[in-house]
Amino acid sequence: MRSIIDILDLSVSEIDELIATAQDIIASPERYAHICEGKKLATLFFEPSTRTRLSFEAAMYELGGHVISMSDAGSSSATKGESVADTIKVVSCYADIIAMRHPKEGAALVASNNTGVPIINAGDGGHCHPTQTTADLLTIYREKGGFDGLTIGLCGDLKFGRTVHSLINAMSRYDDIRFVLISPNELKLPSYVKNDVLKKNNIPYKQTNDLEEAIPELDVLYMTRVQRERFFNEEDYLRLKDSYILTPAKLKDAKRDMIIMHPLPRVNEISVAVDDDPRACYFKQVLNGKYMRMALILMLLKEAGTL
């Protein structure tokens, strides 16, 4: 049974296929409005997440399907000590496809080893969040016209930011890509990502802690939030949370066609005043996320022979 745990579970040609389907859905939503009639998506969220869950649920409804869900993580059988494997074996008796978020890293892999239906990882702790990356890719594709030749600035929490690691993995498969890694010293990109992805694929990158100095050369600026839940130590979180705040003044030397992205939710790392800038794309990312989740649900249900 095919499941999507990591963005690299999707080949470049499958990403192309998902983008093509998403573009088609955007152009002709009515053609997809009943395609999943009678099919059920189970959303299993073992930790709170409003937007990802709503996005999956909206995606399934717009395909004409149904959604079954648990009301919140506190009411689930996990609090009674049931294993992920058992929960998945039970839920896969009810649903045609499962979107799962879990606070522990690797929970999605455990689920995929015990399922009778496709699993989509909707986030497993700080590890992977592939559908956020598909949203990012569709946004870059629609705004920049493709992926090759881009200089991508990643700013903020590059240590714990799973969206950053996934995006680096995904973008590293395209030609002539360059990364600028902007972070405080404590939140630098882990060396294993640098060694296993960037150096291994001879992808040029530079590290800096100066956002304003880096901005002029960027085609994409990907901002991230310093996430409280990834820290064991509250003091470290408070010290680092305001490291980078993007304001209109900091954008004065940016390219006119640079795009500003953010996986959301933001706290204060992008000033609200930036929202009116035509380069701000973070709310488009949200919408694109729903379309890519629709495309992914379709692809997996077809592969499973359910559609």
Partner: protein
């Protein structure tokens, strides 16, 4: 020093000096009701110093585990006082329940029934990563 030859059993030879006790512990040899000799810092032409473990019992040994701890070691099977087989462990692709993932955020930290599985991700540098959370084994 004199250590008697064994009649039926296993000799793990060419262990890098210092790894003998690690192998003894990981192979669970302390649980074995048999004569076992750990010989440390033996002079060796090839290695300078080496450790040797002699087990006076015909038991199955986990070649993957030996390969993980010391891929240069050799395993000699002795029957009726004669060497009948020489096995060369290799760096295993997958290690199951040999080492534990120490990442407190990993699913294996809360689900006790899960096997701890590590995959070889860099043969040259001998790097193993947990298949669940990708944390490097120490």
């Amino acid at each position: 020093m004199n250590v008697d030859s064994i009649q039926n059993g296993i000799v793990i030879d060419h262990i890098s000096a210092g790894n003998g006790m690690t192998l003894y512990d990981l192979l669970g040899l302390d649980q074995l009701d048999a004569s076992i000799a750990i010989i440390k810092n033996v002079n060796s032409k090839k290695m300078g110093k080496k450790d040797i473990i002699k087990i006076d019992a015909d038991i199955p040994v986990d070649l993957d585990l030996i390969g993980y701890v010391d891929p240069d070691a050799t395993v000699n099977v002795i029957k009726n006082g004669t060497l009948v087989e020489k096995r060369k462990p290799e760096l295993p692709e997958v290690l199951t329940d040999v080492i534990k993932c120490k990442n407190p955020r990993c699913i294996t930290s809360v689900e006790q029934e899960l096997k701890h599985v590590f995959r070889l991700t860099d043969k040259e540098k001998r790097i193993y990563r947990c298949i669940y959370c990708e944390t490097k084994a120490n």
